[in-house]
C-alpha cells in the first residue's frame, strides 16, 4: 500500500506540483490533501489515467474544523479502482465564508445525491451541480445542521452537564 502512496504522489506532483499539499497513510488508506481550485482536475486525472483508472466513487463526506481559520470546511472523497483494488482518499479544505467547490457529477453520476447530502448538512456549494437542493432535511430549513456550531442537545437545557455526558 505504501507503494501505491508513492506512485500516486509522484504522478500527482509531476502533474500538479504544489497543489498537492500532503500525502500520508492513515491506517490502510493513502490520503492526499489537495488545494481546492484543482480538486476537479485531480479527480479527472485520477479517473482518466490509464494506470490508476479510479473509475468508482465509493463515498464522499463533508468535514468541519471550526478551529482551522481559513480552512474550516472540507470534503473527503474516496475513490476505488475495482480491477486492481486500489483505494484512496482525497481531502480538500476551504474557508467557511466562501464554501464553493466544483462539482464532480460530470465525472461520476453517483456524486449527484452525495453532493446534495453534503450541501444539505454543511452548506457546501458544489458549483455546476445540476440540481443542488436539500435532500434529507426539509426544504424550509435555514441552517446546515452538521456544522459544529449546532449543538446536538437543546441549548436551553440545564440538567445535562456536558462534562459528564458531552464529548
Amino acid at each position: 500500500m505504501n507503494n501505491l502512496l508513492s506512485t500516486i504522489e509522484e504522478k500527482l506532483k509531476a502533474k500538479f506540483g504544489e497543489g498537492i499539499l500532503s500525502a500520508e497513510m492513515h491506517y490502510d488508506f493513502p490520503v492526499f490533501t489537495i488545494r481546492k481550485d484543482i480538486i476537479h482536475d485531480v479527480i479527472k486525472f485520477l479517473k482518466e489515467d490509464e494506470e490508476l483508472a479510479f473509475g468508482f466513487l465509493t463515498t464522499m463526506c463533508g468535514l468541519h474544523y471550526p478551529d482551522n481559520a481559513g480552512h474550516e470546511l472540507g470534503v473527503m472523497y474516496q475513490l476505488h479502482n475495482m480491477p486492481k483494488n486500489y483505494r484512496i482518499r482525497l481531502k480538500t479544505f476551504f474557508a467557511i465564508s466562501d464554501p464553493q467547490i466544483p462539482t464532480i457529477t460530470d465525472l461520476y453520476a453517483s456524486a449527484n445525491w452525495m453532493e446534495r447530502q453534503e450541501f444539505d448538512f454543511f452548506g457546501i456549494i458544489f458549483k455546476g451541480h445540476p440540481n443542488l437542493k436539500r435532500i434529507l432535511n426539509m426544504d424550509e430549513m435555514t441552517y446546515h445542521p452538521m456544522r459544529k456550531e449546532y449543538p446536538f442537545e437543546d441549548g436551553t437545557r440545564e440538567d445535562k452537564d456536558d462534562k459528564m455526558f458531552g464529548r
Binding site: H26, T58, H64, M76, I135, L136, P145, F152, M164, R167
Partner: protein
C-alpha cells in the same frame, strides 16, 4: 411533445398525467415518494424525494461514546442488523488496533451470513409478492422466523439486535443456539428449494421479471451500485473477496454474477448467495470446532465490559467498568474507513477520532442511498407495474436510505 414541434394546430396537444407514487403506498414497502410523469401507463420521467425517516445518525454519533453508536447502526438496514452492528465493531476495532481471536471471527461470520440469508429472503419473497405470488412469501417467511429465533437466543433481540461488542461478542453461543443453528441448517435447504420451485422457472414469473428494470454494468458502476444489484449487472465485486475482513479469505465460496442486470438476475443472484451463505456457515462451524472452546472476546479490558460478578467483587474490574461506561477509555487519534458486504452492498463506516469519548465525525456509506438515485433513470419508459417490481428487486430499505 414540445410546442415548437407541433406546428399543425389541428392536432390536440398531448398532456401528461402527474402521479404521486408514495410517500405511503402499499406497493412500495416503505416511505418512498416518486413523482412520476405518466403517458398513459408509461413512465416518461420521475423524481424521487427521500428523507422521510431521516434521523440524523451522523450528528447523534458525534455525541455518543463508541459503544452507544451500535444501536444507531441497527436502524440502518433493519433486515440485516447484525451485519451493520458487526461492521461498526470492526471499524472501531480497526481504529483501536484490536486483534480479534479466530474463534470470534468465525462466530461473527456465522451471524453475518445468517443475517444475509434473512435479508435476501425478504427481498426475494417480496419480489414474488409484487408479481402476484403470495404463496412463496408465506412459505419462506417461516425460515426467517427461525433465523430470528437464533438471534434471539444469541443476543435477546430479534430485529434490532445490537449484537456483539467492541472486542468480541457479548456472550458465547449457548448450546441451545447451536441446536437452533443445526436445526436451521437441516431444514433450510429443502424449504429454499421449495421456494425456488415456485418461482425460478415459473413462466409467469419469468415473463414478468426478465427485462424488467435492467441496468448495464457501466451504468451500474457509474451510479455507484454495489452488492447483489451490481453483481446482477455482471460485475463480480464483493467486499468479502476484494477486501476480506473477519477471515473471509479462509472460506470457499463463489460470487454469483448475472448478465442483464434486470429483476430476474437480481432475484437469481440473491438466491445463489443464500446457497453460498449456507455453505459458508457450515464451513465456519467446522472451523469453530477446531478453535479453543469458550473464547468469545479479545483480551482488551479497556474496551470490553468485564462480567458483572467481577465488577461487584473486584476493584480492577470495577474501574474498567466505570471507565468504559463513562467513555473514559483512551482512544487513539486517527481516521479509519472499514467496509463490509451488507445485504445491499458495500456498507462503509468512515470514522475520525480526535481522542475524545465520541467520534469527531462519523460518516456511513449507505449502499441504498447511493444506488437509489439511479431508480428514476431505470424506470424511464417502463410500465408503472414494472417500476414497482424494479424497486422491490433493488431492495431499497428506507432506514438505510435516509439514515
Amino acid at each position: 411533445m414540445s410546442k415548437e414541434k407541433n406546428t399543425n394546430t389541428d392536432i390536440i396537444e398531448k398532456e401528461y398525467t402527474t402521479l404521486n407514487l408514495g410517500p405511503t403506498h402499499p406497493a412500495t414497502h416503505g416511505i418512498f415518494q416518486n413523482v412520476l410523469k405518466m403517458d398513459g401507463e408509461l413512465i416518461v420521467e420521475g423524481e424521487s424525494t427521500v428523507g422521510y425517516i431521516h434521523r440524523a445518525f451522523e450528528k447523534i454519533a458525534e455525541r455518543r461514546p463508541y459503544y452507544q453508536i451500535t444501536v444507531l447502526t441497527d436502524r440502518l438496514n433493519y433486515c440485516s442488523s447484525p451485519i451493520n452492528n458487526l461492521g461498526w465493531h470492526m471499524t472501531v476495532e480497526k481504529l483501536l488496533k484490536i486483534e480479534i481471536p479466530k474463534r470470534v471471527q468465525y462466530l461473527r461470520v456465522i451471524i453475518m451470513e445468517l443475517a444475509r440469508i434473512s435479508d435476501h429472503i425478504i427481498c426475494n419473497s417480496v419480489i414474488g409478492v409484487d408479481t402476484g405470488a403470495m404463496t412463496g412469501f408465506l412459505y419462506i417467511f417461516q425460515q426467517r422466523e427461525s433465523i430470528y429465533d437464533i438471534f434471539e437466543e444469541l443476543c435477546g433481540a430479534r430485529l434490532t439486535t445490537n449484537i456483539g461488542r467492541i472486542g468480541g461478542l457479548e456472550r458465547d453461543f449457548s448450546p441451545k443456539a447451536w441446536a437452533l443453528i443445526d436445526k436451521f441448517l437441516a431444514e433450510f435447504p429443502a424449504k429454499l428449494k421449495e421456494f425456488e420451485n415456485l418461482l425460478m422457472r415459473n413462466r409467469i414469473f419469468m415473463d414478468r421479471t426478465i427485462k424488467c428494470g435492467p441496468i448495464s454494468a457501466e451504468m451500474a458502476l457509474e451510479y455507484g451500485f454495489t452488492g447483489p444489484n451490481l453483481r446482477a449487472a455482471g460485475v463480480d465485486y464483493d467486499v468479502r473477496v476484494m477486501n476480506p475482513y473477519c477471515s473471509y479469505e479462509e472460506f470457499e465460496f463463489t460470487v454469483p454474477v448475472g448478465t442483464q442486470g434486470d429483476t430476474y438476475d437480481r432475484f437469481m443472484v440473491r438466491e445463489e448467495e443464500m446457497w453460498q451463505s449456507l455453505s459458508i456457515i457450515k464451513q465456519a462451524i467446522e472451523k469453530v470446532k477446531k478453535e479453543p472452546a469458550g473464547v468469545y472476546h479479545a483480551d482488551v479490558p479497556e474496551f470490553f465490559l468485564p462480567p458483572k460478578e467481577e465488577v461487584y467483587n473486584n476493584m480492577e474490574a470495577l474501574i474498567y467498568h466505570f471507565k468504559i461506561v463513562m467513555g473514559e477509555a483512551d482512544v487513539p487519534v486517527g481516521e479509519v474507513y472499514h467496509c463490509v458486504e451488507g445485504g445491499n452492498g458495500e456498507l462503509g463506516y468512515y470514522l475520525i477520532s480526535d481522542g475524545g469519548r465520541a467520534p469527531y465525525r462519523m460518516h456511513i456509506r449507505r449502499p441504498c442511498f447511493i444506488y437509489y438515485q439511479a431508480y428514476t433513470e431505470m424506470i424511464k419508459g417502463a410500465l408503472l407495474s414494472d417500476a414497482i417490481l424494479t424497486m422491490s428487486s433493488m431492495n431499497v430499505i428506507a432506514g438505510e436510505l435516509d439514515a
